[in-house]
Amino acid sequence: MKRNSLIVIVGAILVIIFAFWLCAFQVRTTEVAVVTTFGKATHPITEPGLKFKWPPPIQRVYRFDQRIQSSEFENKFREDLTADNNPLLTSVYIGWRISQPDVFLQRFPNGISEAEPQLAKLVSSTKSAVVGHHPLSDFVSANEGGSKFSAIEDEILAAVDEKLTNNNYGLEIKFLRFKKIGLPEATTEKVFARMTSERNVLISRAQNEGEAAAKNIRSDAELRASKILSAAQGEALRIQGQGEAEASKYLGVFQQEPQLASFLFRLDALQDSLKEKSTLIFDQQTGPFTLFGSDVMTNLLSK
């Protein structure tokens, strides 16, 4: 009895485990899954957790990675013509993931490795079309507001997204951006030639600019210096005038006896002008030499 019940319990547990193994399955948080009933995709599962199904061969489960894939299939440059007929090499990177596992399974029974080449083709052709709508200046531009770089990326993304939805890929594209932008090899040589001549222009401009600007700076300095000096001279004149104005209030004093004042001033002037290195020639009319020839002394002595 006891042994039998033990066997029954163990057996029951084994049966439950076996049933679990057949019917239950986990979907990890990184996965999406789809349950097929007799080979037909019936239940897409996009939420992680413990799930149940009928045992095979009734139902089977297919799991896919639902994380964002960053496939490197666009690693090669592709040459397209821009709207203004310039050849332009571009390569983009994309982030995509499986959004509808049931649709995806129907379309790509072999999974991601089958989907990638098709997606690559689709992205490539869409990109060519979009690049063909834009002139080169939309990609690189020194104008105000910069290039329309991001706008072009968004345009390609929208176009790819539309095609994915219309064609039932079961994929969604999260982002698409340029990875490289280049020019055909032959064009690079021309670009180098143009760059070199641009540099030469800059060289001569720098030389001319330098001389001209230096000359300007110098003459400007001289002009400013002479302005400062003339302003100073003007100021000096003003001060002189001020001095004369101040002096004029003493005129009243001299006015009392103008003849005396004039005499005194002349005496001072005489004294000042004959200070040094002067030779003076007199006749006997000038005092005190009147003493020499005249009869002043005789007059005085006779008194």
């Binding site: 990890r28 996965e31 020019l183 090899e185 330098g210 300095a221 009392q256």
Partner: protein, 367 residues
């Protein structure tokens, strides 16, 4: 242990013996079964202990862990993160533990924009020979806003801030970071002119790359924070282009030196002008003061001698004049007296003037 355990079992099984054969063989079998049952119980006990102990796991300080319960994270978003310490989970396949490094700083290097070179060549400081063209399959480069070709490369360091997103959101998150950096290089180049990138606005260019990379990583919700973004740029290595670029730099240096000289000259000239203007004004001021005080003292003097003059004007004038003449004549170097001719005719006098007055002798007399 076994002895203690055997007692309750013994009591329990007492009612049964009548049904069992009482021979010694079957008794031995019973004993054997009983002891093996005990062993099974011990094994089960050990298994239970192992079960619980095995579920314990450790999270290191620079790690976070997430328990996936039947594949689903326990908790929402960042709440699902377990910090450093000991934790417990059911064994696989019920629970699964994912550990993520968070403080570890990670680094990616851009893969576009730089010419073909190898690490060995870089360490040795040598460069592969540059042809006349750039092969798009081998040589990376970017195109600037003014359609010049330059080389740019960048290193981006970042750390994970949202491990759930970083690990469970992307197949290869570091590739996404790298491509965001690549895009940022191409994007920033397309918006900057070559001279700004290489010389005038290096910092602005670097900031633009960093800004774009951060923007993209935020938009794509990669769950990382950018720590640093180093950018290196250079002009093309093609011989003519290289020489031309270097020549522009040296021409600009020359120009700057000329301008520098000119501004030094300006400073000198202006300083001199200001100094002499100051001295002109000061001199004028001094002269004014002197003039005014001179007049003032003359006026005072005039007032003091006025009464004397009024007393006898003639005598006063004579006295003053002669006194002054006396003083003047003392100072004079040469005095020539020409008496009147006795016949009253005009005397003719001829002077031979030296263009240059004799110096040494006058100097002494002047003192």
């Amino acid at each position: 242990m076994n002895e203690d355990h055997s007692h309750p079992h013994g009591d329990h099984e007492h009612p049964h013996p009548p049904e069992m054969p009482a021979d010694s063989g079957s008794q031995a079998l019973t004993e054997a079964l009983r002891s093996s049952f005990n062993i099974v119980r011990l094994v089960m006990f050990v298994l239970v202990v192992v079960f619980f102990v095995h579920g314990i796991f450790q999270v290191k300080p620079n790690e976070r862990a997430i328990i996936l319960h039947f594949g689903k994270p326990r908790g929402e978003g960042t709440q699902a993160l377990l910090g450093p310490g000991l934790h417990w989970s059911y064994p696989y396949p019920i629970d699964e533990v994912e550990k993520v490094s968070v403080t570890g700083v990670q680094k990616v290097e851009s893969t576009v924009g730089w010419y073909a070179t190898t690490r060995e060549q870089e360490l040795a400081g040598t460069e592969p020979p540059a042809g006349n063209t750039l092969n798009p399959a081998l040589d990376g480069y970017t195109i600037t806003a003014d359609a010049n070709i330059i080389h740019v490369r960048s290193t981006l360091t970042y750390h994970v801030v949202d491990p759930v997103q970083y690990v469970f959101g992307f197949v290869a998150a570091s590739n996404i970071v790298q491509d965001a950096l690549n895009n940022a290089i191409v994007y920033a180049s397309a918006n900057f002119k070559v001279d700004d990138i290489l010389t005038k606005d290096k910092a602005g260019f670097q900031a633009a790359i960093e800004k774009r990379a951060i923007e993209l990583l935020d938009k794509e919700n990669v769950g990382v924070a950018v720590d640093q973004c180093d950018v290196q740029t250079t002009w093309p290595r093609q011989q003519n282009v290289k020489t031309a670029f270097a020549a522009v730099l040296s021409a600009q240096l020359d120009r700057d030196r000329l301008l520098q000289d000119a501004s030094t000259y300006t400073n000198q000239v202006l300083t001199a002008a200001v100094a002499s203007s100051n001295s002109i004004v000061n001199l004028a001021e001094a002269q004014r003061v002197q003039y005014v005080s001179d007049i003032s003292s003359r006026a005072t003097n005039f007032l003091s001698i006025l009464p004397w003059y009024r007393t006898n004007a003639n005598l006063f004038v004579q006295q003053r004049f002669n006194e002054t003449m006396g003083r003047v004549l003392t100072n004079l170097q040469e005095k020539i007296y020409v008496p009147e001719r006795l016949d009253g005719k005009t005397r003719e006098l001829r002077l031979l003037l030296n263009s240059e007055p004799p110096k040494p002798s006058t100097a002494t007399t002047n003192q």
